[in-house]
Structures are given as structure tokens and as C-alpha cells.
């Protein structure tokens, strides 16, 4: 579904991604782990072109999205993204947050978008928050709404950028529950995370990035129980 070839991204003189190649198949749940500053968030942000790669190629469903002629907006409509800091639209109610893009982009009619938004809100247990503004929600509630907002576009793949890193510890569980449910529904997912337990449980494959390079990839048992790369062993010894 997503083919990444020799991806390079620099910020000024700083090489953040140094020739990353990876292939993500439909239905896979890929957890990306690694030390901070390793380039894992940058990799995720390159996938939906929030960052423009400086080299290499990314193909999404057969289309070269790094081609300058490619319509980035059209690509992003098929990719949902969930941010560390939620980024709900502060000027809109919860319901409008969810329906804005589907209705404005004519993915569905306003009434249909609203009906679907209410159904999604009910599924995450927040039906009564439809008319609340984001400032009235807790962090966990915000992130659950943000996930629903991305899902409302019916994306082909969901990108999660450290979705629980900005949450109070007691709210991590409720957000992970929603992500787990999305995974079980068969969604293709790429999750940048520090939650090793969650990565082990939900991911079908784990990718370890360090210094802008993929150092090791494999199933959770392979990666967590018998890591081969020395940096990975050191990393795991610190975080688990």
C-alpha cells in the first residue's frame, strides 16, 4: 500500500532521515519505535507530505506522491492523521470538527456527515459532547475526538504520531482502547509510539529507527524478545 524508497529528509544541514526504505502492506499495523530525535515522527509526517522529502520516493496505492505534480490534498484525504497534541479546531464544536472536512470536500452530504459523526461519537462514548468546544474536553476526550475526526474521512490508512505522549497517565488507556478498536476493524495503521506494551499487543510489525535509519524490523516477539541490533538492545533495556 505504501512503498518508501531511499527517503531522505534534512532540516538545514541536519540529516533526519538518511535513506529509509520500507514497504507497508494493506491491513498491517506498523509500530515505529526509537529514541527521541531518531526521525520516526518525521518519517510519519513525510508519508502525508506535511514534510516534503529531500530525496527518495514514496508511492501510495501505486501513485508516486513525491512527484511535484501530485495533488497533496487528494493524497491526504485518503490518509488520516492523529497528532500528539490533538490539534482539534478550537473555534469549532466537536461535531463541526468531525464534519468540516467530509462536508466541505464533498466526501459526503452535510446531513450524512453529521449522522456519521454522531454515530462515531457514540462509539467512543462521547455522544453528549457533540456541541461542546474542545476547550471543555479532557486530553483523553480530545484525542478520542481527534481519532474520530480522521476516521470520518474514511481514510485508507491511519497515521498516529505519538498519540498518547501528551496525555495524563490515567487517560492513556481510554485512547489506546479506541486505537485498538480501529486496529481490530482492519484499518492499515502506522503508529509512532513510546508505549512498548501497546506496540507489542497491537502491532503486526515493529520498526526500530535510530539516527535516521531503520535498524531492525520484525514481528513484536522477534523485535522485543530477541533483538539483534545492538542499539535496539540498548534502547529496549532503557524503556522496558
Amino acid at each position: 500500500m505504501i512503498v518508501i524508497e531511499e527517503l531522505v529528509k534534512k532540516f538545514g544541514g541536519n540529516v533526519v532521515l538518511d535513506g529509509v526504505s520500507e514497504r507497508i502492506r494493506a491491513g498491517e499495523k506498523v509500530a515505529v519505535i526509537g529514541p527521541s530525535g531518531s526521525g520516526k515522527s518525521t518519517l510519519l509526517r513525510c508519508l502525508n507530505l506535511l514534510e516534503r522529502p529531500d530525496g527518495g520516493r514514496i508511492a501510495f496505492e501505486g501513485e508516486d506522491i513525491t512527484d511535484p505534480k501530485c495533488d497533496a490534498d487528494a493524497v491526504r484525504r485518503r490518509m488520516g492523521m492523529v497528532f500528539q497534541h490533538f490539534n482539534l479546531f478550537n473555534n469549532l464544536t466537536v461535531l463541526k470538527n468531525i464534519t468540516l472536512a467530509p462536508a466541505r470536500l464533498k466526501i459526503m452530504a452535510e446531513a450524512e456527515a453529521e449522522e456519521r459523526a454522531r454515530a462515531l461519537l457514540a462509539r467512543i462514548g462521547l455522544p453528549e459532547k457533540a456541541d461542546a468546544y474542545p476547550s471543555m474536553l479532557s486530553g483523553g476526550q480530545k484525542q478520542r475526538v481527534a481519532i474520530v475526526r480522521a476516521l470520518a474521512m474514511n481514510p485508507r490508512v491511519m497515521l498516529f504520531d505519538e498519540p498518547t505522549s501528551a496525555l495524563d497517565p490515567e487517560m492513556v488507556g481510554e485512547v489506546l482502547d479506541v486505537i485498538r478498536e480501529v486496529a481490530e476493524a482492519g484499518m492499515t495503521m502506522v503508529i509512532v509510539t513510546h508505549e512498548m506494551g501497546f506496540a507489542r499487543e497491537v502491532a503486526s510489525r515493529v520498526v526500530f529507527i535510530d539516527g535516521g535509519k531503520i535498524k531492525e524490523t520484525g514481528t513484536p516477539p522477534e523485535l522485543f524478545d530477541s533483538p539483534r541490533d545492538a542499539r535496539l538492545r540498548e534502547f529496549l533495556s532503557k524503556v522496558i
Binding site: H85, N87, N90, L100, R104, Y133, M136, A150
Partner: protein
């Protein structure tokens, strides 16, 4: 006591009644309001466009030439006194037009636009970049993201500063007399000369400006409170 009252009555009469001088003040007030509000419309329009060009250029690296032009505009109009700009507009740029009010509206509007541009730009930049990223990640274009998400939030940052700009502009228009416009300040000056008495004419004009500023302040406070709706906790 009676002497003081008599003096007041005489001052009042020569300032407002004799020769229907109150009409001079009314005309002055009308002209001042026309210039201030006309200029604010032009200034907000120019300022919003310049600000969006500069923000867009900084974020996307496009529109470089236009961005340079906007930068030059800001430098020139913020770097020279408004009176000089007004005189240049009246005696050089529009020397062929003899309509002081229209030229004053334009001059104050273009001048104000330079300040408004910086106010709007700062207001847009104060909105968390995450809001833009979220909009773009959903496939909304940069224009739509700006219009539907960023600008409505930026307005809350912009409005108080824009109110201050309107107040400053209203008072700045008191130099319109330099280009033969009979504005409120000029009316006061006129009546001072006619009556050969400075007290009533000048203090009255000061009081009118003060009341106008108070009124604007009050209106802005109401609007701000309405806009703060989505910030309630």
C-alpha cells in the same frame, strides 16, 4: 458668581450660537468620521491582504517578489510621518484632484494598512501551527484552512490591537487640516480664531474626540466578549 455665569453664557453663545457656528463643529465631526471609518475599511483590506501574502510566502516559499513588495510598503509607510505622507498625496500624487477628504481617506487608509498588516500577521502567527497541520492533514487546501480554521481564531488575537489602531487612526485624522480638510480639530481651530477665545472651542473638540474613543472602546469590548464564546471552560 453671576459674573462667572455670565462669562460662561457669553462663551457658549459666541462658540456655538453666533453665526450658527455649531454647524462648523457638526461638519467637522462628519468629516472626521468619514475619514476615520473610510480609512479603517481601506486599511483593514490592505492589511489583511499584505499579512496573508507575507504569511503564505514565509510558510510555502512562494510569492517571493510580492512578499518583497509588501515589505517595502511596510518600511516606507511606517518609516515616514503621516503628515508628510498626507502632504505628498495631496500636492504630488493626486495634485490633479481637488478633493481633500477623498485624498485624506486614501492617505490614512494606506498608512493604516501598514500597521494593520503587522497586527494581522502577528495574530495569524499566534495561532498554533498544529491547527494548520490538522486542517491540511484532512485534505483541506491552504486557503480553506486559513479561512475556516486559522482566521476565525486569529481574529480574537487581532481585534484588541485593531481596536487600538482604530483609536489611534481616529486621533491621527486631526492633522487632515494640513490638506484643507475641515475636520473636527480644524473646526475647533476655526472657531477659536473667529471668537478669539481658546477655552470652549478647543476643550469642546477634545471632549468630542474623547467620547468617540470611549464609544469605540465600549463597542470593541462587547464584540470581544462575543468572540470569546468558544474559549469558555
Amino acid at each position: 458668581m453671576t459674573a462667572a455665569l455670565e462669562w460662561l453664557a457669553r462663551q457658549f453663545t459666541i462658540t456655538f450660537i453666533t453665526g450658527n457656528r455649531y454647524k462648523l463643529f457638526l461638519t467637522g465631526l462628519r468629516n472626521t468620521l468619514i475619514i476615520a471609518f473610510g480609512a479603517v475599511v481601506i486599511g483593514t483590506f490592505i492589511g489583511a491582504i499584505v499579512a496573508m501574502v507575507r504569511v503564505h510566502s514565509a510558510q510555502s516559499g512562494k510569492l517571493k517578489a510580492l512578499d518583497k513588495l509588501c515589505g517595502a510598503y511596510l518600511a516606507v509607510f511606517r518609516g515616514t510621518p503621516i503628515v508628510v505622507q498626507l502632504l505628498i498625496m495631496y500636492y504630488i500624487v493626486f495634485a490633479f484632484i481637488d478633493n481633500g477628504i477623498s485624498i485624506a481617506v486614501l492617505a490614512f487608509g494606506i498608512n493604516s494598512g501598514a500597521y494593520v498588516a503587522e497586527i494581522v500577521r502577528a495574530g495569524i502567527l499566534a495561532v498554533d501551527i498544529g491547527q494548520t497541520e490538522a486542517g491540511r492533514s484532512l485534505g483541506l487546501s491552504s486557503g480553506r484552512t486559513m479561512r475556516l480554521i486559522v482566521l476565525p481564531q486569529a481574529i480574537k488575537n487581532i481585534l484588541p490591537a485593531l481596536g487600538n489602531e482604530l483609536i489611534a487612526l481616529l486621533k491621527d485624522t486631526s492633522v487632515a487640516g494640513y490638506v484643507t480638510v475641515k475636520d473636527l480639530a480644524q473646526a475647533g481651530e476655526n472657531v477659536r480664531t473667529l471668537t478669539a477665545e481658546p477655552y470652549f472651542s478647543l476643550l469642546f473638540v477634545a471632549a468630542v474626540y474623547f467620547l468617540l474613543v470611549m464609544g469605540i472602546t465600549k463597542i470593541l469590548r462587547v464584540v470581544e466578549r462575543r468572540l470569546a464564546k468558544s474559549d469558555r471552560h
